[in-house]
Symmetry: C2
Subunit: 182 residues, 2 copies
DNA sequence: GTCTATACATCGATAGAC
DNA sequence: GTCTATCGATGTATAGAC
């Protein structure tokens, strides 16, 4: 996993994977059909386990109560994770970067991360009865934060396009959930 | 260019690049220091020339007049380009996918695409006097559309998370620029 | 400037011993 | 099950002729 996250799929050699894992190449090939099979298994595991830190879709308590406070907390948590967890950024780079040649590899992210997140957020926003189209509102919230993190952290835009996470989050909450409507 | 877009950086061999270009490898190495140098030059060119199709920051006429109609047109143009221009998607995959190992490669996108786009949109939205924080509004608009395109086209989420582009755009305009405020 | 030919390393994957 | 040893192919980069 650390080899693929550090060097990408094509630039990762099975020799280095074996050395990092402390086994021989033949041992790896006895467990996985080929390099692509190992890669898919690793990405699947990452999508299932790594993302529970920012948002566990089974944890319904994360999405209840005052919408402004709830969204603010959720958005700030996303920023904090992207800033700290470098593996998170590498996983996103890898998922997007290889999604052309490994379409089946994008699926774990879509199914295990994006889909449950959007669904839970849509349900929550629908309950607030503030939006004509709650799914579009959910996607807008998620998109604004994902693109913010992508630009600042993943694409190293922090220096060129500085914007404090707190201002982005506060401005987003004011934009989508103006105090007058809530 | 077509080789890097099709196979990514690491999986592209200089042999294939030379064959596709109709020259010998030695000729390429006489023009570029190494593979990374060639790659950087190609990505720079793509960032400068390819993106003028969806939005030319020098074209001020694209951002004027009724905000709802302007944003709607702009957002629909982004969707249309992502759906048709497969090279656009591959360029985004490559930029994000290699942004960890080639930090200098993300810069052409940030400087030539994201920064002028956000700046122009921020200025336009500021003129409308509808937003407390126009830059956050601009980033939210851009982020919502970029993430929508990323999920549907780049990560092949169309089947699993279907949502018509027209509904996303219309809902986004209603959310950010409600008819009552405009 | 552009070519052919090649140096030298490393690749993914497997055969066969233990 | 795990190992060592090795296959054939392919990788980047360059030397030297034209």
């Amino acid at each position: 996993m650390q080899e693929f996250l550090a060097h990408g799929y094509a630039a990762t050699s099975m020799d280095r994977v074996a050395r990092a894992a402390g086994v021989s190449k033949a041992t790896i090939y006895s467990h996985f059909k080929d390099k692509a099979d190992l890669f898919a298994a690793i990405m699947q595991q990452l999508a299932e386990h790594k993302f529970a830190t920012v948002f566990d879709p089974r944890d319904r308590t994360a999405l209840q109560g005052d919408p402004r406070a709830t969204i603010r907390t959720l958005a700030l948590k996303m920023c904090a994770q992207a800033e700290c967890d470098t593996r998170f950024c590498e996983f996103m780079r890898l998922t997007i970067g290889e999604s052309g040649r490994f379409p089946e590899l994008a699926q774990p992210y879509v199914e295990n991360v994006a889909k449950p997140f959007i669904a839970a957020l849509t349900d929550y926003l629908a309950d607030q009865n503030l939006f004509k189209d709650p799914e579009v509102a959910a996607r807008t919230l998620m998109g604004a934060m994902v693109y913010f993190v992508t630009l600042q952290e993943i694409l190293h835009g922090k220096d060129s396009l500085p914007l404090a996470a707190e201002r982005m989050v506060e401005g987003l909450v004011d934009l989508i959930l103006p105090p007058s409507r809530a």
